[in-house]
């Protein structure tokens, strides 16, 4: 293993390590634009030039492999002069439009100017004019004048999605990032080009002009869009909630996890969570009274619902969606299956032909089917239909539906037939055509409004945290089950989903030994997937709920 010296510190690295990574591993940050750990080396921005003793000229740290005895200076006069020079070159043709640029605040031209630039500008010539505010895809808009031609986005579309929509055309200082002829940037990972753009050239059409990024706080979460469970950050705006049209979930960014999604996430997941702030969100419990469903308070709702449950003991059919967390499935099972002796609890399967790809997106569009199965729920195909048919035959008295729209999935006819013979409690975050037919409607919190864990298709248990409080009077699903259990006379007293998880881990063999701190920020594999391998070390930082100031580019800093 080569030993080298960086800024006076002796460092031993794996053979083949590049200077930029060797330095980073020891807390020395070398500025860079074109380098991204998930992409090939382009070496074009020259921002990472560093002085290497005995080399005839400065070397780019992104490409230069560490060798034994190498002496690197990242803060010498030569290095500093080059860094300031590169910044000056990059900025001569860059528009001075930070006040109206969405990247401001998370822009590496701004950041590096403060850290490595601070020269006195001398450019007195007219700037090169290029295309501005040019939409290149459904989600991405291009400002060519801001582009520093680092080619990260081009390489992303070549090397990660293999879709090749982007190229750099023309040459010299007229070179311009543009779509290949006849193309649109419409692959399912287009949002990642915005993430990796170090400047304001590629910005998000949804996020544009909504919020200044310095108001945002980032919370660790897991994308609920499919069973991949991409690690994400939910960005919310706690101090200026009226910005972005009042949306609390302002944007989603991928969070680095080498085992799951690396630096990436798909557009379906990223842009598919607007339902969290949709007008269809249920704010209050509803119960049928007089002409139709009327809002009520939780105590009244719990009393009424528990009445329905008590009367249907032994004849309750439970149909839940696999977007419930492990904690929810655990308490639902404890209440409905164990205590109320529900004969059947179905989660069901998924359409294997649903849209999926070879990068991240999976056909199963629910984040926790693996967790449901590990906790004993029926995830076989057709389980829910069978249950509805049993209800229609009069074998059940009550359907307890959690987060599903049965009418949309199985048709009004079958649902009506089932409801002719049984009552229904609906629990979920959104009103839908099924909730409208329920005797009781219990509003549930969305994934971003609560803590919990999902188990992804790789059998990895992953933790998500509350980014903002539940909408209206909605509650986390596990809290609703506890409320009902208490109304039925049980003495449950879980103060947090963390406590639920601790009991779950004592009960369910697959989860044995796990805690939230062990699940941590990178997840922990179920026993059947882990084998004899040890669980990860506890990571207390995973439970830091203060919300971070977002730091771009996501996970590659």
């Amino acid at each position: 293993m080569p030993k080298l010296t960086i800024d006076g510190r002796e460092i031993e690295v794996e053979k083949g390590t590049r200077i930029i990574e060797a330095a980073r591993a020891h807390g020395i940050y070398i500025p860079r634009y074109c380098y991204h750990p998930g992409l090939s080396i382009a070496g074009n921005c020259r921002m990472c030039l560093v002085e290497v003793e005995k080399a005839p000229k400065l070397m780019i740290a992104c490409q230069t492999v560490c060798s034994d005895g190498m002496v690197v200076h990242t803060k010498s006069e030569k290095t500093k002069t080059a860094q300031a020079a590169i910044l000056e070159f990059l900025l001569i043709n860059h528009p001075l439009d930070c006040p109206v640029c969405d990247q401001a605040g998370e822009c590496d031209l701004q950041n590096f100017y403060l850290d490595f630039g601070r020269y006195t500008p001398t450019f007195a010539e007219p700037k090169v004019k290029k295309r501005k505010a040019y939409p290149i895809g459904k989600h991405v808009i291009l400002d060519s004048e801001r582009c520093i031609l680092c080619s990260r986005c081009v390489r992303f579309c070549e090397e990660i999605t293999h879709t090749n929509e982007l190229g750099i055309f023309d040459r010299g200082d007229h070179a311009e990032l543009m779509l290949a002829p006849g193309q649109q940037l419409d692959n399912n990972y287009s949002g990642c080009t915005i993430d990796i753009c170090p400047v304001g050239a590629l910005t998000d059409r949804e996020f544009r002009f909504q919020v200044r990024v310095w108001y945002l706080r980032a919370f660790n979460s897991i994308c609920p869009g499919c069973s991949r469970g991409c690690n994400i950050e939910v960005h919310t705006n706690p101090t200026r909630p009226h910005h972005a049209g009042g949306e609390r979930l302002v944007r989603i960014k991928p969070r680095f996890n080498p085992q799951v999604n690396r630096w990436w996430m798909c557009d379906l997941g990223r842009y598919g969570q607007t339902w969290v702030d949709s007008p269809e969100r249920l704010a209050l419990p509803l119960r049928v009274a007089g002409a139709g469903q009327q809002p009520c308070e939780w105590p009244a709702a719990a009393a009424a619902a528990s009445e329905l449950l008590r009367n249907a003991r032994g004849k309750i059919g439970v149909i839940a969606g696999a977007q419930l967390a492990n904690e929810d499935f655990f308490l639902a099972g404890k209440l409905l299956l164990d205590h109320l002796e529900a004969p059947a609890a179905a989660v069901g399967s998924f359409d294997k032909n649903a849209r999926h790809d070879e990068l991240l997106l999976e056909a199963d569009k629910a984040p926790n089917r693996t967790g449901a199965a590990a906790l004993g729920w029926d995830t076989s195909a057709g389980a829910e239909r069978e249950l509805l048919e049993r209800a229609a035959r009069g074998e059940l008295k009550l359907l307890y539906v959690v987060g599903r729209d049965l009418v949309a999935e199985f048709g009004a006819e079958l649902v009506e037939a089932a409801l002719a013979k049984s009552a229904m409690i609906y629990q979920g975050p959104l009103a839908n055509s099924t909730s409208g037919r329920a005797q009781m409607v219990l509003p549930a919190a969305a994934f971003a409004e609560r803590d919990g864990t999902f188990t992804n298709s790789q059998k990895r248990v992953q933790l998500f945290l509350e980014a903002f409080p539940p909408f209206g009077e909605s509650k986390a699903d596990w809290e609703i089950f506890q409320l009902l259990a208490k109304a039925l006379g049980e003495s449950w007293d879980y103060r947090s989903s963390q406590e639920v998880f601790e009991e779950l881990a004592k009960t369910a063999a697959e989860f044995a030994g796990m805690t939230y701190e062990i699940v941590g920020q990178q997840g922990a594999a179920l026993k059947s997937a882990r084998g004899d391998a040890a669980l990860p070390e506890p990571d207390p930082a995973a439970l830091d709920r203060r919300g971070r100031i977002p730091v771009a580019p996501w996970g590659s800093r």
Binding site: N44, R46, L149, A175
Partner: protein, 425 residues
């Protein structure tokens, strides 16, 4: 100085010199036959190394040593690529070699391919070279018909197929790695080194890129011996080279001379002395090795024209293009001309060259429009200094070195623009 016999240019005046028949009559392809029949490939490389032949495209690197860099243990195919993308301003020697001696080039390629064990060679020729291309095609047809190209040679199993690839006019494609990218079908972007082409070049295979003129000397070296060629030169270089002399001289043209010739001799004894556009006979400055080379003043022309002596004089031998500037020439305009060229031809891949060439161009254009400001020329030098050594390929240095030398050596001419601008204001 002993009178030297021309080697490559000996038959330039003969209208039939490009034909196979003519080439055969004067012993053409005998060096190839002799090499294949009597020498092992490594011995050919050793011979070229011993001749002290250096790359005549611009970099002046030992040709034999370059051939020796081909890894012995790489099972991939090897390629020979002829750099015929002669684009350095002032350079026009390879054009004449292809017009007049296409078979010399082909024989050089056949010998080189034998030495490095390559079966396929590419000639990357500048798109504007329409007539040289025709000549090259004609010669290749002749050589193919004669069983020299595309067939096993002289009872051995060595054969070479040759493909001509026509460039699209970008200067940067004369840079060897950009040339390879272009040859592969990509936009002419230079590649990061390492790996060097000999290890990983065209199509990720070991590749030798040689200039036309360099390869043309190879048959002569094989035929007449490494010692003969080495003896024509000096301690660290062999032979002669073709100087393309242009600008304010009475007799511009291609002169094949030993590298021991001095710049003064070249200009005054061979190129007929100085004759400016407005009649001046007084030399102001010389660009000794193509537009990328730092300029020399009239007082600095007693320098020998080999790579090392020119490097010691703070400039470079480059492509052998010598451009004389008489006192009729405005140095600021001359620099603007050069700088505008590099701005136009920068590929735009890496930051310092992309942005710096444009900046220097605009600053000089403003100067010439009468808009010079205090501090401009110090800034110009600073910009150039910030480009040098910091780019992917040598184009950055090529753009910056002239700026530093022109401003450094002729500062008063630049300052005169500032004074005029301030006077007008």
């Amino acid at each position: 100085m002993p009178k030297s016999q021309p080697i490559l240019t000996a038959y330039f005046d003969d209208p039939e010199s490009h034909t196979l028949a003519h080439y055969r009559r004067r012993g053409g392809y005998q060096a190839l036959e002799q090499a294949i029949r009597t020498l092992k490939p490594d011995q050919v490389t050793e011979t070229v190394k011993a001749s002290k032949l250096r790359g005549l495209g611009g970099a002046g690197f030992s040709t034999g040593m370059k051939w020796g860099f081909i890894p012995k243990d790489n099972p991939k195919p090897r390629y020979l690529v002829v750099n015929a993308d002669e684009g350095e301003p002032g350079t026009f020697k390879d054009k004449w070699l292809m017009l007049k001696e296409p078979h010399t080039l082909i024989e050089g390629m056949l010998i080189a391919s034998y030495a490095i064990g390559c079966r396929r060679a590419y000639i990357y020729i500048r798109g504007e070279y329409v007539r040289p291309l025709e000549r090259l095609k004609g010669a290749l047809e002749e050589a193919t018909a004669a069983g020299l190209v595309g067939a096993p040679l002289f009872g051995s199993d060595h054969r070479l197929d040759v493909t001509i690839h026509v460039g699209a006019g970008a200067y940067i494609c004369g840079e060897e790695t950009a040339l390879l990218t272009s040859l592969e079908g990509g936009k002419g972007f230079p590649k990061l080194k390492p790996p060097f082409p000999a290890v990983e070049g065209a199509f990720k295979c070991p590749t030798i890129v040689n200039n036309v003129e360099t390869l043309c000397y190879v048959p002569h070296i094989l035929q007449r011996g490494a010692e003969w060629f080495a003896a024509l030169g000096g301690e660290r270089f062999g032979g002669m080279r073709l100087f393309a002399v242009s600008g304010d001289v009475a007799a511009p043209g291609v002169y094949e001379l030993p590298l021991t010739v001095t710049l003064r001799e070249l200009l005054y004894q061979h190129a007929g002395g100085i004759r400016g556009g407005r009649g001046s006979t007084e030399l102001k400055a010389v660009i000794p090795g193509g537009s990328s080379a730092p300029i020399l003043t009239a007082a600095e022309i007693d320098v020998q024209m080999d790579f090392d002596s020119l490097a010691k004089a703070g400039t470079m031998g480059g492509s052998g293009a010598v451009i004389a500037l008489s006192t009729d020439v405005d140095i600021v305009e001359a620099l603007y001309n050069v700088t505008r060229f590099y701005h136009h031809e920068s590929c735009g891949q890496c930051t310092p060259c992309r942005e710096g060439t444009g900046w220097m161009d605009k600053l000089l254009a403003r100067t010439l429009r009468g808009g010079a400001r205090e501090g401009d020329f110090d800034n110009l030098v600073r910009i150039a200094r910030n480009i040098i050594g910091n780019t992917i390929c040598p184009l950055g240095d090529a753009a910056a070195l002239p700026v530093m030398s022109y401003v450094g050596k002729f500062r008063s001419e630049f300052d005169a623009y500032l004074q005029r601008a301030q006077g007008a204001a």
